[in-house]
């Protein structure tokens, strides 16, 4: 069992550092974002389970050599406070660590979900007051601002897609359709759920640089996934032009201030999105 614990620990380390450090920017993932997303989700899932699993096995090894006996031994420890001979304080620490890590991850997921839901509700209230529904496009609202912006606010029951007057002015009909189909794909494919798991992962393990990389890269792959879905409805040229025009930002009121606090899609990521449409 110690050997199994060490193997799992090795897997955990592999998936916590070298693998997520190598994955970002992989061209095969950019060609097939669904595959990339699947791999990232497996890395996170298996990484988390092997981290906890190795600690559990390490702790269990002190109670017995096979798992059922070890479980029995642990149960006796909990109920009768009896420790087998030869058990060490380290094995108990390993078990405690597993318990702590599990609680930490679940708690952070819960907090992240609750926080996001609150933010979403607040933003939805604001958008209700500041935008009007577009009668010709259900679920879509229009804000009266010159900056070309498009985003969606995915929700459990209702999702809102928001377009700005500046966007509609700058884009032609097919480019606008590209934007709308892109946002619709986010909503339909529930990208918000994938993203929230990686956000929680990042918040849980802030000291792990790869957790940060992972959420950025997953966000980018989700954009590419939505791009691909938009391509089922519009041509590559229209989508590529729409991306460029919106990124340029048109006549932004507070341009300098914005570049200081750069939004999520960094130049490198935008270039990657644009290049795969070429």
């Amino acid at each position: 069992m110690v050997a199994a614990a060490i193997t799992l620990g090795f897997v955990a380390i592999l998936l916590a550092w070298p693998v997520p450090a190598l994955l970002p920017g992989a061209q095969w993932a950019y060609r097939r974002p669904t595959l990339g997303l699947l791999v990232w989700q497996l890395v996170a899932l298996i990484g988390g389970f092997s981290m906890i699993g190795s600690l559990v096995l390490l702790g269990a090894a002190t109670f017995a050599t096979d798992l059922p006996d070890a479980a029995n031994g642990m149960w006796r420890f909990v109920t009768h406070n009896e420790l087998p001979d030869g058990s060490s304080v380290w094995s108990l620490l390993a078990l405690l660590g597993a318990l702590f890590l599990t609680a930490h991850l679940l708690l952070n997921l819960l907090v992240t979900v609750v926080y996001a839901e609150r933010e979403r509700a607040r933003h939805a209230q604001l958008i209700t007051l500041l935008s009007e529904p577009m009668t010709d496009r259900p679920g879509t609202r229009l804000i009266d601002t010159p900056a070309p912006v498009a985003y969606c606010l995915p929700g459990a029951l209702t999702s809102i897609t928001v377009l700005s007057a500046g966007l509609i002015q700058l884009l032609d009909e097919e480019e606008l359709q590209a934007v709308i189909e892109h946002e619709r794909a986010h909503v339909r494919l529930r990208h918000d759920i994938v993203l929230i798991f990686f956000t929680a992962w990042k918040v849980s393990l802030p000291w792990l640089p790869t957790a940060r990389n992972a959420s950025r890269e997953v966000a980018l792959l989700l954009e590419m996934h939505a791009d691909d879905n938009a391509l089922n409805h519009v041509g590559r040229g229209s989508l590529a032009r729409a991306i460029t025009i919106v990124a340029e930002g048109g006549a932004l009121p507070r341009r300098s201030e914005l570049s200081a606090a750069l939004p999520e899609s960094t130049p490198k990521e935008l270039r990657a999105r644009l290049l795969r449409l070429a």
Partner: protein
């Protein structure tokens, strides 16, 4: 979006446009005007909307006024600036609830994107 939300928006628009505090009866009269909504609404409905808006901190009730008078807590422009700040960046990690089409980039980077677009 529900019709209550749309009613909230109409009430806020009236409060923003008037710039002063209004009672539910003032709002009732303004709402009935054809250019607002042309709808005859019960005063209790309007009071419900106002108390919802008060809970969300969009309006403030003036103390000691009978009937109660309400005014917009902040101007439309201030709320719009908040909204745009959230949309165009500045949101923190946990608040990443929006799925933007594209974030905005600097002028130099926009030039690079243009070149990629031209090269395709």
């Amino acid at each position: 979006m529900n019709s209550l939300g749309e009613l909230e928006r109409t009430v806020m628009d009236l409060l923003w446009a008037s710039g002063e505090s209004l009672s539910a009866y003032d709002l009732q009269a303004k709402l009935a005007a054809p250019e607002a909504s042309g709808r005859e609404l019960a005063a209790t409905t309007i009071l419900t909307v106002l108390s919802r808006l008060e809970n969300k901190n969009f309006v403030r009730r003036e103390r000691d006024s009978r009937p109660h008078r309400y005014r917009a807590a902040a101007g439309r422009e201030a709320h719009m600036a908040d909204l745009m700040h959230e949309v165009l960046g500045g949101a923190n990690d946990r608040a990443a609830v929006l799925e933007r089409f594209v974030g905005q980039v600097s002028n130099e980077e926009a030039e690079t994107l243009r070149r990629i677009l031209a090269g395709r």
